[in-house]
Symmetry: C3
Subunit: 674 residues, 3 copies
């Protein structure tokens, strides 16, 4: 905990951009290792992650250690000029741990043990697992802290495990005692007067195991928070051990974007820089949009500083039902999207494709077919290009728009027995993000508690749970001249997932100038009447499809921007705007189609005085992002496409991109936005 939090720019390993891969030499005969290093250099790789799944190789039996092979690997890499991201191998304990200490195995909500034979079979609350992980972490840190190949530490892998067993119950109780101190407060927070759930002793409290009917939302939310905290504490424990031996190299772990099992806002704070895994789905033409949003989440998690794309695929993955491969060019385009959005490096899982194991059909830098292959050629070309882009390293993000996102809110919003399972947090998030993406506007996805002063516009799409401090800050933010767009079913509950009484959205009703009395999930689409504030023309044939709210204006200056055109709410407001202090606040009481959302969001952008890089919008499949002085134009689709750019983007105003093609333009000093 007393480790000095290093600034990212200084802590990212190496100079220039990182280009790397996971390297698992234990899967291959020693004789092939020199070839691997040679191929790394050929591909332009300057960093490899080693040891992620090496526990059984390093400690084949309890307390028996075998580091010789890893010494050799690190020496070899160092000799070849390849720097090392050294992992603690704690994501996959060896079979002997589960055999000797079954309590280290996780248990699901129905009581089934999850066995070894795959990976991740650890119980985050098991003291024995934690002790074994601490031991091997210390051994590795001690041995390699001074190794010249070492560039950074990679703790565990994609932290994310949950267990409902008795040891987890114990740890959960301790966590709850820390949070609530008295049982009375816990009973109050969880609302245990409902359904006779009141606890009379701490010992009665359990994880939310299988039950006959709907669970307690407070208990479920706290168990998710607890599990997240347990995972963060696994990271902290290993980080602190490493710090005992090494205060020089940065320490991080690889996140998984919008992974629901861990609150990355908590985890990011503990890391020296943010590292993330992202796998575009080549079978889904819109997958790159979620990728862009995920990269913008990374920016938000790192406070605008550069981050690292720790894992990605050169071509197909193996874990989807139908694994489409990347089209030629897509490898480069996917990587550049991350760089454009603040990544100081791009790494692949993995360097050499396995011929066995659960991921043998996962693509790699060196595929089964060898280095004389399209995939290797494209990876090497990208490596060369990354070297050219090296000057970008360290360039921070400069965005004026934030989307508020909170894991607790996500968990609470999607608890069982809510008004509608059709209203999905991630879908709303993407829907509010797409208009910005289509106009070349970048975003940081940040926690509601973030200081919002550096943003001119904040969006809250379906931010279900909103604490009082955050609500107060938002009011002040708008009052001080900020602009805020609030999506449906937001500010519904407080930190304990208790619903605000009175009209919704309780804590934000005043600043929005509007409030409602009933959420009305729709059984059929309802027309919306929405006249575009910018063009003055009415949008044609637009509907709310799944969600509406029964709203009434109450602010003296609140305006109705759109209203329902039929049904029980005919004539009632669907979208409102309210000037408040020096700023303005919009509320949306419906799910909106893309066209309506674009009109609304771009109105707010205009009101916030944010200049729009691509006023007419980008063609489908095209991404445009600025980083520093570079403008990245990326074609994520299979057709040749032309982009019209304002004159400020250099001399050429029409840029043509081949299918899966990329252009990176160096811009004049007069930046279009910053």
């Amino acid at each position: 905990m007393n480790r000095q939090q290093l600034g990212l720019a200084s802590s990212m390993p190496g100079e220039g951009l990182i280009f790397g891969a996971d390297y698992n030499p234990e899967q291959w005969p020693k004789a092939s290792w020199p070839t691997d290093v040679a191929l790394m250099k050929e591909a332009g790789i300057n960093l490899v992650t080693v040891g992620v799944f090496s526990w059984a190789q390093l400690e084949p039996e309890e307390g028996q250690w075998n580091f010789a092979w890893l010494d050799e690997v690190l020496d070899l890499l160092h000799a070849g000029g390849i720097r090392v991201s050294l992992a603690t191998p704690t994501a996959s304990p060896p079979p002997w741990l589960g055999k000797l200490y079954p309590q280290t195995l996780p248990t699901d909500a129905s009581g089934h043990t999850l066995w070894y034979g795959s990976r991740n079979q650890f119980n985050p609350s098991s003291p024995k697992y934690r002790a074994a992980a601490a031991t091997i972490t210390a051994k590795i840190a001690e041995r390699y802290a001074q190794h010249p190949a070492l560039a950074m530490w990679h703790v565990g892998n994609e932290l994310g495990q949950i267990s409902f067993d008795d040891e987890s119950a114990c740890a959960f109780r301790e966590w709850l005692m820390g949070k609530y101190v008295t049982l009375e407060r816990l009973n109050d927070a969880w609302g245990t007067t409902f359904w006779s759930q009141q606890y009379s002793t701490w010992e009665e409290i359990l994880p939310p195991r299988s039950a006959p009917y709907i669970g307690n939302p407070g208990q479920e939310l706290d168990f998710k928070r607890f599990t997240s905290d347990q995972l963060v504490s696994l990271f902290q424990a290993e980080r602190d051990i490493i710090t005992r031996y090494d205060t020089t190299h940065p320490i991080t772990t690889n996140m998984m974007g919008f992974f629901s099992g861990l609150d990355y806002n908590s985890l990011a704070r503990e890391t020296d820089f943010v590292a993330n895994d992202w796998y575009t789905d080549p079978g889904d033409p819109q997958s790159w949009q979620l990728g862009a949003l995920t990269h913008d989440l990374c920016r938000g998690l790192s406070g605008g500083k550069p981050w690292l794309l720790m894992e990605s695929a050169t071509s197909a993955v193996n874990w989807r039902g139908h694994n489409v491969a990347k089209e030629p060019g897509a490898l480069q385009v996917d990587a550049l999207s991350a760089v454009a959005r603040g990544a100081d490096g791009v790494c692949f899982f993995q360097f050499r494709q396995s011929s066995f194991g659960a991921e043998r059909f996962h693509s790699a830098v060196v595929p089964l077919a060898g280095s004389k292959s399209r995939v290797f050629r494209e990876a090497a070309a990208l490596g060369a290009y990354m070297a050219q882009l090296g000057a970008l390293a360290g360039t921070p993000s400069q965005t004026r728009i934030a989307i508020l996102f909170d894991w607790s809110s996500w968990w609470a919003a999607e608890s069982a027995a809510r008004p509608s399972e059709k209203l999905q947090v991630m879908e709303q998030l993407l829907a509010y993000y797409r208009p910005l993406l289509r106009h070349g506007l970048s975003v940081e996805v940040v926690h509601p508690d973030t200081d919002l002063d550096r943003f001119d516009l904040v969006l809250l799409p379906n931010l279900f749970l909103l604490g009082k401090p955050a609500a107060t800050a938002l009011k002040r933010y708008v009052s001080n001249g900020g602009h805020m767009v609030v999506g449906p079913f937001s500010a519904v509950a407080n930190e304990e997932a208790k619903l605000a009484t009175g009209r919704f959205p309780g804590a934000l009703a005043e600043v929005l100038g509007v409030s409602g009395e009933e959420w009305l999930p729709l059984d059929k689409p309802v027309p919306l009447v929405f006249t575009s504030p910018s063009t003055g023309t009415q949008l044609q044939d637009i509907h709310a499809s799944i969600w509406s709210e029964d709203l009434e204006l109450h602010g003296p200056n609140t305006r109705t921007l759109a209203y329902f055109g039929a049904g029980r709410l005919a004539g009632k407001p669907a979208i409102t705007a309210n000037p408040w202090g020096a700023g303005e606040a919009w509320y949306v009481g419906a799910d909106l189609p893309a066209e309506a959302l674009e009109t609304l969001v771009m109105s707010a952008v205009a009101a916030a005085g944010i200049q729009v890089p691509v006023p007419l919008g980008l063609p489908d499949d095209i991404e445009a992002v600025e980083r520093g002085d570079q403008l990245f134009l990326l074609n994520h689709g299979p057709t040749l496409s032309s982009v019209e750019l304002p004159g400020t983007f250099g001399t050429s105003t029409t840029i043509t991109l081949p299918p899966y093609g990329a252009k990176v333009l160096s811009q004049k000093k007069n930046r279009v936005y910053s």
Copy 2:
């Protein structure tokens, strides 16, 4: 058991109609209780159910009692003139019970424990659970039997739990010993010579737990019967304890309509009056039809006497995937449908919407938004109207048509490995009910063992299981002038779910004058040729879709009303009619489309001499029901609709109903039917 079964008219609490709600004051601060009582009065509420989920409040630790708050609540309600339906809180034991006595927790068929943290986590066969439930029931009965607010007792809540654990196995064996006396008889009844399932000792017998393949249908049927009997005996046990302290107030429990887990014919016999929960699905335009059928089941369960709608929703519920709210007006229309079909009262779950717990998104009389809301206004308007209709209280049902329905038959009909899973008992039940509904004819849904003499027409839609006594009674019924319509796949099995040998439908083949040798589920629709007996014209474009039977006439006067128009059965009978003694019996060897069923059922209605209130049929969404001298006309749909009524219905022959509108007409003495 020695409790005097009170007649319902005298035992229903209060005078006039009941208008009420579940009231859970333990969820709210004491300071708000007086406001609650004031709002109850404002809404016209005269009865509230208290204490359903109060076990943990009343007995926070084993043997520690806290009744002060409930004393206060009851006194407050009494002072406000609100009568109380007092619940035993045994549906949801406190966590300490499950913690101290894990054997009280239920176990599913695969051996998973279902834990506390929700509700209903009790094992109906656990002696410890039963003892704990008995203790708190006695405490409550002793304390409140004389309380002036007390109007009735509400035992448990929606009884329905199942467990496959060892204690349940013990209790199952005892139940089986009582039923079969010898193991030989059990082996014979279950047909254990099949697949080498013969039991050599009682101890071998288990609930039908997870097994490698299809289970034994006899065992499965008996386990459902046993579970149902266990739940009934939970009711009996609490009722008998209450009776020790109170022989004045009626005792009941809330059923759930066509809930498959409990034979309500058994349970209804043990209650002082029938109380039922019904939740219209506002997202399903036909949901009100199942509601009407459910209300008609309640009439049947109570032998034609009034019953109570114990739970319903003012607007949306929370437990569907997508919870559409009720349209304005629907609250009233739904309530009046129950009153029209014999309910002497309508109650809502719940009075005040929770801000926490699993049902916080369930609507209430007082929503989160407070009493200045559409929902509260509509509830209060209904309350006022219910008071106006008070004279209806006690008016019994007078119907001449019965539908035979039997939980055992339902269970047996939908056992695994049957001819077709597409033939569903509930779908057939609704299909045969809809023509009656459309013509304003009301029905009682009764058990096959019911005395049928008061009915002129009985329908058996897919009554799979039919015992010999019931079959004999049906024959006598027809012979004496009764009319009977038998749907497909009826009278297939006896009480032990053994198939009748010989041609089907074994026990009814003679009276029907037709029999078959093979059930023929269809892989594609087959045309039917059916000339309407009343109009003489042939129905156009009608088909059997999923089911046909290979039938042959054998009665001397049996007529073919419809035959198959193509396929292997081309020219063979699909619908037959057979005069038998003074009556007539119809058989249907196919699944019929709505038009064909209407033609058939209305022919039988005509043959039975039943006058039809709405000969031309009602428009979609419109319900018309008589109760006493009142004619209820209800519009369950979103469009204005006009109903043509014969002159006998007063001076006006065309009644116009607004969307979700209701009209209750006082009729002349010359009733149209009775």
Copy 3:
């Protein structure tokens, strides 16, 4: 093991063709048994299987024996001239075994016990189960080996059970020790360096139980092989016991065609002749095609010798969701399809329909309706016809075409986390089989290790796993003049399911003259350009739908027969042909539509010099097969159909078949093919 393997022709019981049924007299009163025997004779039945599920009747308590009833049944059958297939009743142990010895019950991968109350509740690795099964087998063999009614032994029933419990883990370890000898070899074979799965002691090894993520493919494959071997060893154990008492009568067990749980190539070797169960699905018009393929598998399993259709249905079954009955005539047509494809007999499950138990809705020779029924009449007519066809008995199969199929390959191909779950082994198998079926060409489905010299053409549709010896043999086979068609995603892995490194299809790339570097599952259909080698015209509007491969020719004479018409592979080969030595080899790098597969396969047939019985192809629903001098023409559809036959098929060249009609033509000596 020392039992003399009898030749099938001599070991099949009786003379002429077998016509039989399962007979379970214990389900019926003794008084009805003589009627049963009379009805058997009326139906032409000459063999009944007795005792399959009689364990509880024979040993009602542990060690207590009751054979009197079975003595009587066998005497009665013998007196009536009905021969007996006597079963060991070990498929369904009595409840007492599970009660007294819970370790005999199987456990699923999540740890759930599967209880008695159904059937098959045995753990194949339980020593106690094995001992109990051995005891009753010895008792039965000793008692009935000399009974004059005895014709053959029927061991167990549809062997197929799996268990993941601790006893299975023990047995699995022993099996692995036998296979790998050292732990090092096991670790190497399973690739346990991946994900830190290395085992340090044998005791750590478990069946592939529920785990947090994707399992180890090597472990999963070996566990399937182990389970299969355990089931085979159950057969062997009972067979060897019987042999102690009887070396005269043949011993077999009933297989289930393409059942994935047991490698029938292993099992078939242990039986005296192949017996199989096949249930046409009357609700699926193409079900007969899978039936034909299954029968051709039986031919392959028996090395071309006759086999026995041990179970089939007279009409509907009960275990599908919607059980369509057989159309009139289909009973005969289905039976003759088996006879035409080498069956020396046809038996039904079961003789008399049960009125209780899990299969009471399964059709039988004598249905519930009795013998005056369509089904009985049709069965009896078939019985009479089978007697007429008696001379066919013993006639072996003579086919020149083989399809290679291997259970291990199937298991490995459909392991988790592969390129696409849409590419299914059974679908590809059927797709490559259908062109042959449509042209009256019969096939043997054989293991890749089979000596292929007697075949002129072999097909490998999606043969994922191919060992080195088999690959070598295939090369030699082609070199020596054989013809080979290899489907997509074949020869991908070796016996350990390790992927071949380098370009695919590794071991076959040389002989095919083509190789690839990336499998490319498709996200949308891609056009194929394919000019028919025989007609010279281009196939219209054909596409690969789910699968493509990035191929390159490298043989000097390799030709592209078809290429991709668009997309990333535009212009690249999709189907290739390569002359190799005296033979030729085709490769297909895509999933092909029916028309393209027909063109390809029939080209290969032509190249192999195989004369085609029906050059223009058969109409839909029509099957044409030769056996000996008989030509079977079978109409599996509901429409009258005419078949054009070449002059060589007798004088008549146009044969008309009524719906579900059959014609068996005696042919001239000059056979069209053989």
